[in-house]
Subunit: 251 residues, 2 copies
């Protein structure tokens, strides 16, 4: 049996998230069907990150096993011919047996695209969240710093989160100011809780709008209660930007 | 009564075109509702171009009449607060009584976004059409030249086109090669028949793929028969790019 690793990007707008659902189209479901058509046998498709409905990915990692001898370029070409235009395979390769994307992922980076101007260009609306009113980016940047390090993120997970532990280590958390009132928030960590990035972004927007102080964040961590954090920012601004795998460590 | 002119941009993905339909959401329908809510009275909303389902606009022109004294910046702010993120008002002004966008439009420019590479970035898929296989851009550019001037465009209109005359004058028709396998086709003319730009693009793609010769185009004009032209290119690549109004002539 060969284990094939896929790196893919997708526009999450049309999907009920990564994970297969009984009735709604999902990225995992569409990709699994495409792989089964191309490989001509049933497969189990694992992914590194269960992105939510409407969340985009620049580099999701998935893997499946096959007994087929089909060369990698053929598999990739076949998949891209079969997949809809909003899901593309960027890279495929054979990996060691037992490769499981989630177990191999040692760090993930998310990007959240924001717009602080009056008029968000219509062609960016599916990929960016507009912040209403004036914001203080300096305060938001100050707030972002508080997320660095190891914390209990109980205040920053959805009610549906079923993770047993809530301690997470954040290695990167900052804003980049881009052109024309665009900005992005970058966060990297070992693992993330359900809705964690979106709740962090919602809280940082509150801080930017003056509804909360950056200095309130340590107390918010202490509270371990979702109800005291900011709102969950919309899915459409969120991108799974990078996944660092164990094998990359070799480099 | 004041006549208010609006310049708007929209992402056509979610709409059944410009023109109001009984059951499906349309740009005219959504905008009319927003104007009526902001102005607080019923209006008639006219547009310069009846874009098809899925076609985008960078500068549609619309107009309505009102007895309200409300200042223009208030109207614009109110509309943008009310409208969904895929429709934005870029400009509003009071114009002379009797201004009708369609009658005032003396020229329109459309842009068609194409991609000739293997992998169209997923975040561009709603705004660009991928051409399969290899193309010869030189032949397409040669084909584009044949559309310049005054022609009978009977071969380049949909079966649903109800225009009485089919003679149209084209003042601009060319390709621009952009970065990373992107290209665009630009066409300007006085008026356009139903699906005319998309059938021209479909025909130029045929020429690029070697399914037809640029030199076949004069005979295709002569045939006056839609069945001999190329396929109708998808709506998602088409943008209403500019509308020149009579009043702009002053400049």
């Amino acid at each position: 049996m060969r284990t094939i690793k896929l790196v893919l990007e997708y526009d999450g707008t049309a999907y009920a998230g990564w994970q297969i659902q009984p009735h709604d189209p999902t990225v995992q479901g569409v990709l699994k069907n495409a792989v089964e058509l191309v490989m001509n046998h049933p497969i189990i498709l694992n992914g590194a990150s269960r992105t939510d409905a409407g969340v985009h990915a620049h580099c999701q990692v998935a893997a499946f096993q096959t007994s087929s001898e089909r060369p990698i370029p053929d598999i990739m070409k076949g998949l891209n011919a079969m997949l809809p235009a909003d899901i593309r395979i960027c890279h495929a390769e054979e990996v060691h047996p037992g490769f499981h994307p989630r177990a191999e992922a040692i760090a993930k980076t998310y990007r959240y695209a924001l717009f602080s101007g009056r008029k968000l260009p219509v062609f960016q609306h599916p990929y960016c969240t507009r912040i209403r009113g004036r914001i203080n980016l300096e305060k938001m940047e100050k707030g972002a710093q508080y997320f660095l390090g190891t914390h209990d993120f109980s205040s920053f997970r959805s009610a549906h989160c079923s993770a047993r532990t809530t301690i997470r280590k954040i290695s990167e958390s900052h804003f980049n100011k881009l052109q024309n009132d665009h900005l992005e928030y970058i966060i990297s960590g070992n693992r993330f809780l359900h809705n964690m990035v979106r709740i962090i972004v919602g809280t940082l927007i509150w801080i930017g709008q003056g509804k909360m102080m950056a200095e309130d964040l340590p107390a918010l961590f202490e509270k371990k209660d979702r109800r005291f954090a900011g709102p969950t920012a919309p899915a459409k601004g969120l991108f799974l930007e990078n996944i660092r795998l164990k094998e990359d460590e070799k480099w």
